[in-house]
């Protein structure tokens, strides 16, 4: 014959487990829903950038590529190399110039 107190205890424990499971499940669902909401990317869409053709900035970058900058930020060029760098940069000065709005830009 079962003891009535034991029955009550078992039922209480079951009830507690059930409640805890529901609470955990509920929390997990809430967290999942919140995470889904939090991870929504912005729906902002930029206008595609339009660059002048030719773009003087490309000449600057090409001229910069001719300068071998050392990690300590020093550089050394012969007169002829220097003249070539400046000539290429000046080509860009005569054109419409627009720095990139994509990538690192630097």
């Amino acid at each position: 014959m079962r003891h009535p107190r034991s029955l009550t205890s078992v039922a209480a424990v079951r009830l507690a487990w059930g409640a805890l499971s529901v609470a955990l499940l509920g929390t997990a669902v809430i967290l999942a829903v919140y995470d889904h909401y939090a991870q929504q990317p912005p729906d902002w869409k930029p206008a595609p950038p339009s660059y002048p053709i030719p773009n003087g900035y490309d000449d600057f970058v090409a001229a910069a590529a001719l300068v071998p900058v050392q990690p300590n930020e020093s550089y050394s060029l012969t007169e002829a190399e220097r003249a070539a760098v400046l000539a290429r940069a000046r080509l860009g000065l005569g054109r419409v110039c627009q720095a990139p709005s994509e990538g690192t830009g630097g």
Binding site: Y57, F60, V61, V67, A89, G92, Q98, A99, E102, G106
Partner: protein, 298 residues
């Protein structure tokens, strides 16, 4: 640093070389090219491009201001015209911050669409945060609603751009209220110094103009120096040069510490420290003014 700034440096060095041989017309062309390059380099670019352009402009302006006394009147007038022509395209802080806002928005939106974490975005912007942003912040980054972070970035940058358009004395250093999320707290603080960097450039611009105007005045008045900068108006410059760091004009000592005309701005502290300039181009201290020492005439 890429090779972009050294090109500006080379153009300025070329100008100085011509100037040392008194080839003023060629020197003027090189100074023009250096300044035009500094203006072009930053056009519609992000903060990196802006800072590169500003660095080139400041380099050329300092050289120009220091050598103005050596120039003949014609070269000085020619260069005054150059500065006048380039002034509208030199760029300003508000515009730079707006450009950075658009650049940053684009980067952030793309990264978030690619499901990149905010921590990853911070790392890719290469602003030095990767050293301080620890893994313990991952949860904060994870649960911050991305759309809200994005909108906060845009709003904060808009506010900074508006602030930057105000005169130096009326500007607030930073935002009215700090952003609520850790991502923007870190990122936006990077932009607090942009307005002051531009004000420094503006001060060098005004000083170079004033030094050139004095050189023109002096060559047309048998070497005499003006007793005040208002004597230069309107023949050489349309208005007395204003100090962008104060509400008054630039300060002028006809016989500065080196018996040369000294024109200076009060600098960041907003106080006249008697024309005490830093001997190197480092950050302004609390007890210094901002100016350029003139080289003696040949």
């Amino acid at each position: 640093m890429t090779g972009l700034v050294p090109i500006g440096e080379m153009l300025t060095q070329e100008a100085e070389q011509f100037a040392s041989h008194r080839q003023w017309r060629r020197a003027a062309r090189s100074y023009h090219d250096a300044l035009a390059y500094g203006c072009q380099l930053r056009r519609k670019g992000n903060l990196v491009a802006t800072l590169q352009g500003n660095a080139v402009q400041a380099m050329a302006l300092k050289s120009l201001a220091s050598r103005a006394r050596q120039m003949d009147g014609e070269a000085a007038l020619m260069l005054l015209q150059v500065l006048k022509r380039l002034r509208p395209v030199r760029g300003n802080a508000s515009e730079s911050l707006q450009q950075e806002r658009e650049w940053g928005s684009r980067q952030l939106a793309e990264a978030l669409r690619e499901r990149k974490s905010l921590r990853g975005v911070l790392r890719s912007w290469d602003m030095g945060f990767e050293r301080i942003v620890g893994i313990e912040w991952e949860w904060q980054f994870r649960f911050q609603p991305k759309r809200a972070v994005f909108q906060t970035f845009r709003n904060a940058m808009e506010e900074l751009a508006k602030e930057a358009a105000l005169p130096h004395g009326r500007r607030r250093f930073g935002l009215r209220a700090p952003p609520s999320d850790i991502f923007n707290q870190l990122i936006v603080s990077v932009y607090y110094g942009v307005a002051n960097a531009h004000t420094r450039r503006d001060a060098y611009w005004e000083i170079a103009e004033a030094q050139l105007a004095i050189a023109s005045y002096s060559s047309q008045n048998q070497g005499r120096l003006p007793s005040s900068l208002s004597e230069l108006v309107p023949r050489y410059i349309p208005n007395a040069p204003q100090d962008p760091f104060s509400t008054g004009p630039l300060l002028y000592q006809p016989k500065g510490s080196l018996k040369a005309p000294l024109i200076y701005s009060v600098g960041m502290n907003g106080r006249d420290d008697g024309g005490k300039l830093l001997p190197y181009s480092g950050p302004a201290t609390d007890k210094s003014d901002l100016g350029v020492l003139s080289l003696a005439p040949h």
